[in-house]
Subunit: 364 residues, 2 copies
Amino acid sequence: MPSIKKVAEVAGVSVGTVSHVITGSVPVSEPLRLKVLAAIQELNYHPNHVARSLKTSKTRTLGIMVPDMTISFFPQVIRGAESAARERGYSLLAVNSDDDAERQKELLSLLRSQRVEGILLVIASAPTPLSQLSRILDAGIPMVCLDRIPDRVPVDSVSVEDLSAAAMGVEHLIEMGSRRIAIVTGPLSLKNERRRVLGYKQALDRAGIASENDLIWQGNLRPDDVTAICRARLTDPGPRPDAIFCTNGPTALAALRALRDLGLKTPEDIAFATFDELTVDDLFTPAITTVLQPAYDIGFHAAEVLLNRIEGVSAGAEAITIRLPATLKVRESSRNMNAASRVSGGSQRRRESAVVAGWQPPRP
Amino acid sequence: MPSIKKVAEVAGVSVGTVSHVITGSVPVSEPLRLKVLAAIQELNYHPNHVARSLKTSKTRTLGIMVPDMTISFFPQVIRGAESAARERGYSLLAVNSDDDAERQKELLSLLRSQRVEGILLVIASAPTPLSQLSRILDAGIPMVCLDRIPDRVPVDSVSVEDLSAAAMGVEHLIEMGSRRIAIVTGPLSLKNERRRVLGYKQALDRAGIASENDLIWQGNLRPDDVTAICRARLTDPGPRPDAIFCTNGPTALAALRALRDLGLKTPEDIAFATFDELTVDDLFTPAITTVLQPAYDIGFHAAEVLLNRIEGVSAGAEAITIRLPATLKVRESSRNMNAASRVSGGSQRRRESAVVAGWQPPRP
DNA sequence: TATCACGCTTGAGACGTTTCAATGTGGAGC
DNA sequence: GCTCCACATTGAAACGTCTCAAGCGTGATA
């Protein structure tokens, strides 16, 4: 692999001059410039980022860690971040934590060794020791948490506005005639999940419906467990819920399995709505009503916040918090067949959840 | 960010000794080793990969380029590759080409600048200039093509056994009673697509069915176009096909849209089968019969082949070709309602396509 | 007691860049 | 015709690490 030295030799100039041609930082006379470019062509020379990074102590690389990029939400986030990064000349190093705190720790260490200039982090759902995060921040490495927001750590963060997004979904179920609405959550160790439950409660409250603790079904990350939990609760004695609201996609799939196992159909037997898209559009039945998160935008904005920190644009500012609105996609599954529906079913009505604060929209 | 020099200072030893402790390449006496480890702890020191890479000219990083990692097939491939890489101490730099030859070229250049030690490449579907690939190979950078195999370039490759996988899907449709089977393909500039068409033809041939050119519907990568093509062909005068077979996921979704637009149902009006998984399991209707590619394994094996090249294990060997078997997941959509079905519908029968050659299975 | 061998430890050079200070060149101004 | 300046070009140092050769101390052998 040819080096700048080789190029200089072939072009008959000094290494300094070659460097100037490449970086454009210092003017070089046209004849010399052409000779250098010709030599670069001839040798098929590619500047060595490694050496450059060492010298400048800038790698122009960001790290992004997600629990599992085979979950369809995350690739969208990563692509959003990649776009923002690429626009500003940065690359992205993506890694999967498997939602495991130990692995997360190792990978954070790896990213530090790689000298990424900043980290985009979706924390593992198992409670992450505060020290893991504060270590990074204390070392002066910019970090932005996205999607999942850690408790008690003052750190930049970008996510959906959980509370109003959940409330929007639940309000819709209420509008459609449901009254006894169960919520299936992920681990409540995650702040986001707690906020979604709060949104659920507020929506019930505003509708004058008392919330009942045994309609809050806490799940975990093992789909089989969640299915079992739902199956058990659905066969409890007493009145069955007339609607289920799920706070995330994997959980929703697990809940749907429970329904299928019990021979229950949505929307005929029970209405259904969830965070995150389960199927493509409306090609499949049941078409599931969805609170759609702006995954791409979350990634994009998070990367922008991070880059602004790195480049000192927002130096010294306190923790930046961006909460993006979700969108409601109404489909068949939320039609409560036991109620006098006030809305013609299956319409593609969209709404936006409220709240965006302290944030400038990106260029169009 | 502390350096090895700082550590040496704190521990009261030379930089060389610290280096030996870190790499373990040279024995260091226990007392000194402990002092060094203590200093590392105290300073929260993380070895600088950048400097190490420069010195050793080994980055221990692989590049992987896919068209678009929001297509669910690719994240699985990437995770497979990541596992294999991590096991051997390598990291993965993942980038998206947007299926664009120009962007692919830029990104290959970027990866070279980053000095990745090898490249896993899913080529863009627009015909890639041979020179793009041969440049890399000529420069001595190991490369493995996966999923999509370039024409005329002798390069290591890992993919599904396209021919037998397609044949398996089509044979199944025939078994279920279909006789007039249309195939919807991606761009035939891709060798894989052509091999899948070949498999389709062979299956028809073996069943004594003449293949007709106007049942081969060539699509492209714009879903709307594919939908339009399918709509047009489905309303052609003359007998309508009694089954559709699609060679990839996005194409299948587009074809299903066409069916919906025309008010056609599967399997009632037309049987349906496709490469790639469209929905989760059998929670949704219509449940689509699928030729399932071993995406994770493709990534895993590709990375292993690449690493073997990098580490000289398979030095000098000619192009290594691995073709993995696909799996057939039979579901409702392939039941041809107009035929006397020979199989009880909806069973979860699985089969494997044939052909695996010159390849050792990975440890369990 | 002197020598030797072994093995831990050290110092310095090199990896490919960038960048600063210094050099060289030609033209403008007096 | 001389001085000075602007500007293109050069040479060398430094980034943090690994590694080789050399140094040094210890214990065993003669």
